[in-house]
């Protein structure tokens, strides 16, 4: 790295907040999914950053970006930085670690939003919001992830998307340091109107910022945003005893919350019931953990999980989901329960009572409301790594079950090879319905061992096969799965998709990149190359 550039960064940030020590840099090179790249099975990704910076203000971020532009360096910002997306995609990339930008600036109770910096995690935001009778979407990746990153730059669905929406739409005003160092403030923020809207004046720049997925660092650095909050009808806190998820018990189960776990004869009825739950607008949260996944990762330890496969599996229905009702009055609860019973009657659903009893009920309620460590445990503990197939599969009524059937069928073959965790093909997780059924979502968690090259290969092959299968059926290609497969092979992420599309989005996306990043300073390994590469 150019020593003058480094000196400049030191003078901007102070020497304590910059480092180019190789050991420190390697701490940023080591990543989940690092095992999928490079020539070995270590978790070190292929590229070390040129240096790591720790800015504490937007101005410092801007200065770093300007230094990069001046010296021909690239930059990659990360918040909580989980996953290879957060690491450099090539040499000479300055890592911007936004950990010091961790202020929860404001919670506006009447307009129901919170203004956050990048390092505020969902768990922090949620606990502060709940105190005020508000709540936020806590994504499946875990409440230890950045709220801002999820809203502006990434993907991430949640069980409470059914009532609170997908986070692509849960962002208002945004402060954004563009790749050339200019700062743009979206919506009302730029016009002196506060945080209340992220759209306008005129065309909304939110449309550049993201789609189902954000730019993952390829379009600059987001330094503040307003995250939408929603009403929370539960208690201000959900205190629990014990720290291990499967042991965790609520000290008191709230009176106005009910957990139900209906199951069905077949997937058609399952989806029909979900759609009705959506249209009836009764659910706070909905979720699916297929039994193959449940009996792999939800024991207190792997040994116990393996036992669960033997002891619990026989009694677990295949087509089951959980839903959480939260009512603001006893009348409303009565109504919600009555509607649920009606839906089950219409769709042949039955209630799986084991899940509704104290014990499982507490664990699942905590999972649906707060997340906690259970999601990560469920997918990482058994084999050490995972990657969902169908990650990014946003579907609708007629496509959800097709994708579920398809992925299960293909996955079963791979599972037979013994190179993945044996979830019987039933590794599904998802909120299933978003926005009361206007969208549906499903992904199939696929557990592989990062230390076993054949296991990694199996995952990549499975991902490509499922993506191709969906594309050939003219179903949505799950883009986040696509990124992982593409990066593992060092290929541009969009190129495999475009042949199936009737509109080549790369043209426009590349133009955005060229317009807003004239010096190609923002590391685009997860976005789009500045120039088309042959």
């Amino acid at each position: 790295m150019d020593k003058n550039a480094y000196k400049m960064l030191e003078s901007i940030l102070g020497p304590d907040n910059v480092s180019r020590d190789p050991g420190v840099l390697d701490a940023y090179t080591y990543q989940w999914m690092g095992e999928m790249t490079g020539n070995d099975v270590t978790r070190f990704g292929p590229f070390r950053p040129a240096c790591v910076t720790l800015p504490s203000t937007t101005q410092e971020v801007q200065s770093i970006v300007r230094v990069c532009n001046r010296y021909g360096l690239k930059f990659k910002a990360q918040s909580t930085g989980w996953g290879l997306y957060a690491s450099p995609g090539e040499e000479r990339v300055v890592q911007i670690d936004l950990r010091r930008m961790n202020r929860l600036i404001e919670i506006n109770e009447r307009d129901m939003y919170a203004v956050v910096e990048p390092y505020v995690i969902w768990a922090q935001l949620q606990v502060e919001a709940m105190r005020k009778g508000l709540n936020c979407v806590t994504i499946g990746a875990g409440s230890c992830t950045s709220a801002l990153a999820n809203c502006t730059s990434m993907m991430g669905v949640a069980n409470n998307n059914v009532s609170m929406g997908y986070n692509e739409r849960n962002v208002l005003g945004v402060e954004w340091v563009l790749p050339d160092g200019e700062i743009v403030r979206l919506g009302s923020l730029g016009s002196g109107g506060g945080w209340i809207s992220g759209d306008g004046p005129g065309p909304s720049l939110r449309g550049i910022m993201r789609g189902t997925l954000g730019a993952l660092g390829g379009l600059g650095v987001f330094t503040k945003c307003a995250v939408r909050l929603y009403h929370w009808g539960g208690p201000p806190d959900l205190p629990s005893k014990n720290i291990v998820s499967m042991d965790e018990r609520l000290l008191e189960y709230p009176e106005n919350i009910r957990l139900a776990a209906p199951y069905f004869e077949n997937r058609i009825n399952f989806e029909e019931a979900l759609a009705k739950v959506g249209e009836a607008e009764i659910a706070y949260a909905v979720g699916l953990v297929e039994r193959g996944l449940m009996t792999l990762g939800l024991g207190k330890e792997n040994l116990e999980s393996v036992e669960l496969r033997k002891t619990l599996l026989p009694s677990l229905p295949k087509h089951i989901f959980v839903l959480l009702l939260i009512a603001n009055s006893p009348r409303e609860m009565e109504y919600q329960e009555k509607v649920l019973e009606q839906i089950l009657e219409q769709t042949g659903g039955k209630r799986f009572e084991m899940v509704e009893e104290p014990g499982f009920r507490d664990i699942i309620t905590l999972l649906l409301v707060k997340g906690g460590s259970a999601p990560a445990r469920g997918v990482f503990s058994p084999t050490g790594s995972f990657s969902p197939i169908l990650c990014g599969f946003f579907g609708t009524r007629r496509t959800l079950t097709k994708a579920m059937d398809d992925s299960e069928e293909i996955k079963k073959r791979y599972v037979k090879s013994g190179l993945l965790a044996d979830d019987m093909g039933e590794g599904g997780w998802g909120p299933l319905v978003i926005d009361h059924g206007h969208m549906e979502y499903f992904e199939n968690e696929t557990l592989f061992d990062p230390n076993v090259p054949e296991s990694i290969k199996a995952l990549v092959d499975l991902t490509e096969e499922t993506n191709t299968s969906l594309a050939e059926k003219n179903l949505v290609i799950p883009f986040l799965s696509q990124i992982k497969a593409a990066r593992s092979k060092g290929l541009p992420v969009h190129d495999a998709i475009v042949p199936y599309m009737n509109s080549d989005h790369r043209i426009w996306q590349r133009k955005f990149k060229q317009a807003f990043d004239p010096n190609d300073a923002a590391d685009s390994c997860n976005y789009i190359d500045w120039e088309e590469k042959s």
Binding site: M112, G193, I196, S204, I208, S329, Y335, S503
Partner: protein
């Protein structure tokens, strides 16, 4: 060879247009051209040279290609007159692209609660077809009968069911658009895999509006046709209620009404909800002072309207439960709920707001003309904004009785859309002059207090964009991408 006049000299050949579209789809009738030269806004008048009416995607592509070759401004228009925002008045002359001929409802799907409409489809037609499937499209407050559904959505006009207003982009989903470059693009999941037909065969309904790493729909909205011409849109529909019970909540205390509105929206109680001042309410229900069944003069200044609904599942129970819950909130706030207040019934209002406005358009009823001031603001600032506009109105001796105020919670309670209407007689040059001064001064005063003009129109546009130089510069980059030759509605927005 007849050339159509254009700024700068190069022109679109009329014969070429007729060749492409047919004689019946090209008009240079002076009467019609004059109608497009101005509207109810304060935008300066300018006559177009021609009106074309494409009937297909291919024709739109051809027109844009030809306009690009000849540097001819194109102004896409999808709604019928009267127009109010100046967005359809050509700034630099050019050709009006009247999209009303593309008026098919291409698809309605009950299961996915979605409809696909061409630009010329109007609310009346769509709602009638949706009703057959047990659906409805949440609508803005009594749009005019000539309002295009797609046009309204592309303008980000908020609708009156805040619970279903999930985002400022709602209810717009996917679009097929021809950019100023001549390229055709389909947004969101409509981009593929597969052609539209293949997608639909596989069960897809062009409902997921998000693209992979961008959302072009958001860029098209608020663009006033300056980036591309939309040839179809999908819109998110909701279920038609089986039972509805509307209420009126009149009060002189706006703050209390806002509080009530906040809780109703926050707790997802009820569907339709909005707040009007007396002038607007009277105009809407067509019962102003000089009408035989006028709303009584001592009707409170403000009225909140909301409506409970029940659908497939125990509709009566639902309405009953929600009514009980709301009555507790209202009681705590000290404001009673009415099904009828004085001589106005909530059902009457519901009937009105469930359809586009009967003629004449309700905003034109009081004085014949109306200048809107729409903006977005936060909960606490609404009363402040009301005070500002009242002060501005009084300063300029504009009668308060000609000030219509409409407050709409948006985005499930994340913000308020305020639409202040200045009713005036457009045939009076003096009034028109006053309105212009008032519009400018009120606009500035509101902006100074933090009002966000998210979709600025006509003579306020420049000052809005100048407040946010960074966004303006970014938008100019966008313009250069989608319409490098600046043929689409040039002079609008900040380009």
């Amino acid at each position: 060879m007849v050339l159509l006049k254009n700024e700068g000299g190069i022109m679109m050949e009329r014969e070429k247009l007729v060749d492409l579209l047919g004689e019946q789809s090209v008009s240079y009738d002076p009467e019609t051209l004059k109608k497009y030269s101005q509207d109810h806004s304060l935008a300066p008048s300018r006559e177009p040279s021609c009106i074309v009416r494409p009937g297909s995607l291919e024709q739109v592509q051809d027109i844009i290609r030809l306009a690009g070759e000849t540097n001819t401004p194109l102004i896409p228009v999808s709604s019928g007159e009267p127009h109010f925002h100046g967005d359809t008045v050509p700034v630099l002359g050019g050709v009006i692209m009247d999209m009303s001929g593309m008026n098919k409802i291409r698809m309605i799907d009950r299961k996915d609660r979605v409809a696909m409409v061409e630009p010329g489809v109007r609310f009346t037609d769509l709602q009638a077809e949706l009703k057959k499937e047990g659906l409805r499209l949440p609508m803005p407050l009594c749009p005019r009968v000539t309002k295009s559904v797609a046009g309204s959505c592309l303008e980000r006009e908020p609708h009156i069911i805040p619970k279903y207003h999930l985002d400022h982009s709602d209810p717009l989903l996917c679009n097929e658009v021809v950019f100023g470059t001549g390229d055709t693009f389909r947004t969101g999941e409509a981009a593929g895999p597969g052609t539209l037909e293949e997608q639909q065969q596989s069960g897809r309904r062009q409902k997921i509006s998000m693209g992979i790493q961008m959302n072009i729909n958001r860029i098209l909205q608020g663009a006033q046709g300056t980036l591309g011409v939309v040839t179809w849109s999908t819109v998110k529909c909701e279920l038609l209620p089986l039972l509805q019970k509307p209420f009126l909540v009149p009060s002189d205390d706006l703050q209390r009404l806002l509080e009530l509105a906040h809780w109703l929206v926050r707790l997802r109680l009820g569907d339709e909800l909005f707040i009007l001042n007396w002038n607007n309410l009277a105009a809407l229900v067509g019962r102003s002072n000089d009408e035989p069944n006028a709303i009584m003069k001592d009707y409170p200044e403000w009225t909140l309207f909301f409506c409970l609904s029940g659908g497939e599942f125990f509709p009566e129970d639902r309405v009953k439960q929600q009514e009980k819950d709301i009555s507790i909130i209202a009681k705590n706030l000290g404001i009673p709920l009415y099904e009828t207040f004085c001589n106005l019934s909530a059902k009457e209002v519901l009937k009105l707001v469930s359809s586009p406005s009967p003629e004449p358009y309700w905003k034109l009823r009081p004085r014949g003309g109306c200048q809107d001031i729409p903006f977005i603001t936060s909960f606490h600032k609404v009363p402040e904004m009301v005070d500002v506009i009242k002060q501005e109105v009084l300063k300029r001796n504009f009668p308060l009785s000609s000030l219509g105020l409409y407050i709409q919670p948006v985005c499930q309670g994340h913000g308020h859309h305020c639409e202040f209407c200045l009713f005036y007689d457009p045939s009076s040059p003096e009034q028109r002059g006053k309105i212009k001064d008032l519009y400018l001064s009120a606009g500035k005063a509101l902006m100074d207090k933090g009002a966000f003009f998210s979709r600025p129109y006509d003579i306020l546009t420049e000052s809005v964009y100048n407040r946010d130089g960074a966004s303006r510069d970014a938008l100019r980059k966008i313009k250069r991408i989608f319409d490098p030759n600046n043929i689409l509605n040039p002079g609008k927005l900040c380009f």
